[in-house]
Symmetry: C2
Subunit: 205 residues, 2 copies
Amino acid sequence: MNRKKTGKGQLIVLSGPSGVGKSTVIAELMSQRELFFSVSFTTREPRSGEVDGKNYYFITREEFEGMIARGELLEYTQYQQNYYGTSEKLLQEKLDAGIDVLLDIEVEGGENVRKKRPDAISIFMIPPSFEELSRRLHARNTDKEEVIQGRLARAREEYKEIPKYDYLVINDRVSNAVTEIEAILAAAECRVAKRIHIIEGDNAL
Amino acid sequence: MNRKKTGKGQLIVLSGPSGVGKSTVIAELMSQRELFFSVSFTTREPRSGEVDGKNYYFITREEFEGMIARGELLEYTQYQQNYYGTSEKLLQEKLDAGIDVLLDIEVEGGENVRKKRPDAISIFMIPPSFEELSRRLHARNTDKEEVIQGRLARAREEYKEIPKYDYLVINDRVSNAVTEIEAILAAAECRVAKRIHIIEGDNAL
C-alpha cells in the first residue's frame, strides 16, 4: 500500500498580506518536500530582484487578454490596473502526476479557485501582529511610504476574507509557519475523501 | 500570543473496528501530549485485563438508565444487549480548560456526537488490510472463533460509515498512526474557526 501519496496531488491556495513573508516560507517548504509552485502570470512591472518565470511570468496586457479569451486561466483578477492569473494546464498536469501544487494568490483569486476546486486546501498567512507587518514592509526598503500605506490598507481589506479560508497560519518565525503548513498538508493526506479508495483496495471487504 | 493552545480544547472522535489497535495508539498519543481520554460507561462485562475507570466505567443497567433519564449523556448506544455512553459533564470541563478530549466510540456514537458537536474532529482507524484485522483478532487470543467472526461481520458494517468521518488513519504501525493523528490535531489547531479571535487580538486592525 502506498502510504504517503495516494492518487492525485493536493491543490493548496496560500494568501496573505504583502510583507507577511510568503515567499520565504514557500522556499523553505519547497526545500523540504516535493511541491510545485504555480507561477502566476501578471501584467505588472517586475519589482527589484524579481525574476521572470520564478516570481511571475511577466507578460503584456495583450498577451494576458489572449489567455483570457482562450479560456486558459483557472482564475484571474485585476489589482491596481494590472492582471494576475493562473494557467490551468501545467497545474493540472502536476496534480494528475500526484504532485502537490501551491498557488500564492490574492484573496479574490483564492475565492475563484475555491469555487472551481472545492477540494483545494486554503491557507491565509498573517504576521504575529499588525505592527509587525508594518515593520516588515518598512524593513524591506523597496517601497515608498505611500506604497507601504497602500499595502497596509489593502491588508485590512484582505483580513476580512479570512473566514472564507480553511486555515490561518501565523508567520512569527518561518520555521513555525512551515511546521504548521506541513501539518496541514499531512492531515489533508488523511482526509477520508483522499483515502476512501483504500477500502476498495487492500481493505476490500 | 499563545501559539499552541488558543481557547477551548478540541473534541476528537475515534472509531474503528475491534482489534484495529485503538487502545495502543491512544496510549502512545497520551504519552506524547496532553490529552484527556473520555472513559465511556457501559453495562457490558469487563474483558480479561480490563480495568474499571480506565477502559470503561462498568455499571449496571439500572445505573445507566438513570443517567439517560437525567440527561447526563452526550451520546449513548446499544450493542449486543449492552449500553455504551459518554458523560457530558467531565468532558465539557476539560474542553473549557483548553484540554483536548478523545472519545473512543462506536460508529453510532460517533454519528450522535457529530450531530451535537459539529466542530468535533472525527477519525476512523483501519488496519492495513482486512486479513490483518482477522489476524490481529485471532492473535489477541481472548475471543472464541464465533465472537471473532461476529467482530469481523461488525467491521464490515462499520466500514460503510467511513464516508461520514473527516479522516481515515491507517494503523499499519502504531508510530505511523500516531504521527498521522498528531498531524490531524496540529492542523485542527490552525483552522480558521479555531483562530479567528487572533485577528481581534494582537492582529486587530
